[in-house]
C-alpha cells in the first residue's frame, strides 16, 4: 500500500507546556489507525498539526512525499477532518452546510447537488436536508460532520474523538458508519480516542500516546500479546493489583495461591496502557 502520511519528530510547545514531545509515524492508503490515550495526552494537538490548524514547533508532516506546510493548499485536498466539537453552522441547513464545504473544496458546481444528496443518504439524513442544524440532535450533527468531511473524497480522514459525549447506542451506530467509510470508500482513517472499546473494535493498528509521546504501536492483538493474554486482578481494600500472564494456566496457578478476592479475565488495551504507564486511560 502507498504511504499517504509521514510524520517526523513532531513537537508542539505552548508557553509553559509541551503538548506533543516528538511523534513519528506513517499511515498508508486504506489503513485504519487509532491514536489512543487519556485526555491531555496530545491527541488533538497532533491532529491539529496534521491538518494545519496548529503550526508545529519542530518536525515535519509529509503527504505523498511533499512537505505539508510548504504545499498546504495542495496537501489539504488529501485530508478530511472531523473535530471532536461540532463546527457546523447552526444557522444553515444540512444541505447548505454541505454546499459550503463543496465550494471551499472546489467541487465543480455540476457535481455538488448529487454529491450532497449521496452524502445525506449515506448518513441517513435525507429527510432533514432542509432543516437548520440547530434543530439536530448530537448524533445527527456527528453524522453530518462525518459525511461532510468525505465530500471532497479525501485520501485520509481524521476523526478526533468522534463519539465523545454521545450515548452508547449512537456511538455504536457511528462506529458502523465509520467502518462503512473505511471499507466502501477505501479511505485511510486516523481516529483519536480515549475509549478502549472503540480502538479495539475499529482499528487495525493502535498507537498509544501518553504525555505527548507514542509509547507503543501495533495491532490491538500485538499490543495485548506484548503484555500477556490474561490478567489476574487481586482486590485489596483500597486498590486493585493486576498481574499479567501469557497463558490461562499460569494465571490459574497464581489464582490458587491467592488469599484475597481475585478474578481472571482477558487482557484489554486498558491493561496495556496501565502496564506501560502505571495509570489508567479513563480515570
Amino acid at each position: 500500500m502507498r504511504e499517504i502520511l509521514q510524520v517526523k519528530g513532531l513537537v508542539k510547545n505552548f508557553s509553559k507546556k509541551t503538548a506533543v514531545a516528538g511523534v513519528d509515524f506513517t499511515i498508508s492508503e486504506g489503513e485504519f489507525v487509532g491514536l489512543l490515550g487519556p485526555n491531555g495526552a496530545g491527541k488533538t494537538t497532533t491532529i491539529k498539526m496534521l491538518t494545519g490548524l496548529l503550526k508545529p514547533t519542530e518536525g515535519e508532516v509529509i503527504y505523498y512525499g511533499r512537505d505539508f506546510f510548504r504545499h498546504a493548499r495542495e496537501s489539504k485536498r488529501f485530508i478530511g477532518v472531523v473535530h471532536q466539537y461540532s463546527n457546523l453552522d447552526r444557522d444553515l441547513t444540512a444541505y447548505e452546510n454541505l454546499y459550503l464545504h463543496c465550494i471551499l473544496h472546489g467541487i465543480p458546481k455540476i457535481e455538488r447537488d448529487s454529491k450532497i444528496k449521496e452524502a445525506l443518504e449515506f448518513a441517513g439524513l435525507t429527510e432533514y436536508e432542509d432543516k437548520e442544524v440547530k434543530t439536530f440532535s448530537g448524533g445527527m450533527k456527528r453524522r453530518l460532520i462525518i459525511v461532510r468531511a468525505l465530500l471532497h473524497e479525501p485520501k485520509i480522514l481524521y476523526l478526533d474523538e468522534p463519539t465523545v459525549g454521545l450515548d452508547p447506542q449512537i456511538r455504536r451506530s457511528l462506529w458502523d458508519l465509520i467502518v462503512k467509510i473505511n471499507q466502501i470508500k477505501s479511505m485511510a482513517i486516523l481516529l483519536t480516542t480515549h475509549y478502549i472499546e472503540e480502538a479495539e473494535r475499529l482499528c487495525q493498528r493502535v498507537m498509544i500516546i501518553n504525555k505527548g509521546r507514542i509509547i507503543s504501536s501495533g495491532s490491538p492483538e500485538q499490543l495485548k500479546k506484548g503484555v500477556g493474554r490474561y490478567v489476574l486482578e487481586i482486590f485489596y481494600d483500597d486498590h486493585i493489583e493486576e498481574r499479567f500472564f501469557s497463558t490461562r494456566d499460569e494465571a490459574l496457578e497464581e489464582l490458587r495461591k491467592c488469599t484475597l478476592s481475585c478474578r481472571i479475565r482477558e487482557i484489554t488495551l486498558e491493561d496495556v496502557f496501565l502496564k506501560l504507564t502505571g495509570r489508567r486511560i479513563n480515570v
Binding site: 466539537y85 453552522d89 471551499l104 472546489g106
Partner: protein
C-alpha cells in the same frame, strides 16, 4: 479559483438573508434616531461648515453607520471562530489566507454599503439634497474596505468575545463620536484635534462629506484613506495567516 472568497460569502450572505429583517431593523434604527434628535432638533437653524446641520449630519451618519456595519463583522467572525468553530472549516480547506480575508472584507463592505443605502433613503425622506459624484462611490468603497479590514484584523487578534467588546468601547465608540460625524473636527481643542487626525475615520468623514455636499475633496485625505486601507488589509492578512485554532 477564489473558492475561499466564494465560500465565505456564501456562508455570510446566507446567514444574513435568514436574519435580514432583524439586521435591517437594527441597522436602520440608530441613524434614524440621530436624524430625528439632531437633524430635526437643529433643523436649518444651525449651520456647520456653511451647511444646514441636517445636510452636514447625513454624510457623517453615512460614515458612522457604514463603519459600524463594516467593522461589525468583527463580532460575527468572533462568534463563528470562538463559539461555532466554523473558522476552522475555512482554515483546513484548500484555500489561501488572502481568499478568506477578502471574503470577510467583501461581506463587511456589503453590510456597510447596505447601511449607506438606508441613509440615502432617510435623506430623501428628510428632503436633504445630496450630490452623488463618482468620487463619493470611490470614497465609500475605500471607507468600507478599510473598516472591514480593521474588523477582520481585530477579530483575529482578540482572544475572546469580551476583548472584542473592550476594543469597541475604547477605540471604535470614541472614534465614531470624535472624528467629525456630528461636528467639525476643526472646532476641537488642539490636543484632541491632533489625536483625531491620527484616526482614519476623520479622513473618511471629510472626503465623504465633501463628495456629497459639493465641497472640495482634499486629495491628501483620499490618499491617506487608501494608505490606511492598505495597512489594515495587510494586517488582516497577517492576522489570519497567524491564527491557530
Amino acid at each position: 479559483m477564489f473558492n475561499g472568497i466564494k465560500g465565505v460569502l456564501y456562508r455570510e450572505l446566507n446567514v444574513y438573508r435568514k436574519r435580514a429583517g432583524k439586521q435591517l431593523l437594527a441597522t436602520s434604527l440608530s441613524p434614524l434616531l440621530f436624524l430625528i434628535a439632531f437633524g430635526w432638533g437643529f433643523g436649518d437653524r444651525v449651520m456647520a461648515e456653511g451647511l444646514p446641520y441636517i445636510t452636514f449630519l447625513i454624510p457623517g451618519l453615512i460614515t458612522m453607520s457604514s463603519l459600524n456595519q463594516s467593522y461589525g463583522i468583527a463580532q460575527e467572525i468572533n462568534i463563528t471562530r470562538f463559539y461555532f468553530h466554523l473558522f476552522d472549516e475555512y482554515l483546513i480547506a484548500p484555500v489561501t489566507h488572502i481568499e478568506i480575508v477578502l471574503g470577510e472584507i467583501l461581506y463587511g463592505m456589503f453590510k456597510g454599503l447596505l447601511s449607506t443605502l438606508l441613509i440615502f433613503i432617510y435623506a430623501t425622506l428628510f428632503k436633504v439634497q445630496l450630490i452623488l459624484s463618482p468620487l463619493f462611490f470611490i470614497a465609500i468603497l475605500i471607507h468600507t474596505f478599510l473598516f472591514a479590514s480593521l474588523g477582520t484584523t481585530m477579530a483575529m487578534v482578540v482572544r475572546d468575545h469580551g476583548s472584542q467588546a473592550t476594543v469597541n468601547t475604547f477605540v471604535i465608540t470614541p472614534m465614531v463620536f470624535l472624528c467629525g460625524t456630528f461636528f467639525s473636527v476643526d472646532k476641537l481643542p488642539y490636543l484632541f484635534k491632533s489625536i483625531v487626525y491620527l484616526l482614519p475615520l476623520t479622513y473618511s468623514t471629510k472626503v465623504i462629506r465633501a463628495s456629497l455636499t459639493g465641497g472640495t475633496v482634499n486629495p491628501l485625505y483620499l490618499s491617506l484613506m487608501i494608505i490606511f486601507a492598505g495597512l489594515f488589509f495587510f494586517s488582516a492578512y497577517l492576522a489570519v495567516k497567524k491564527v491557530e485554532a
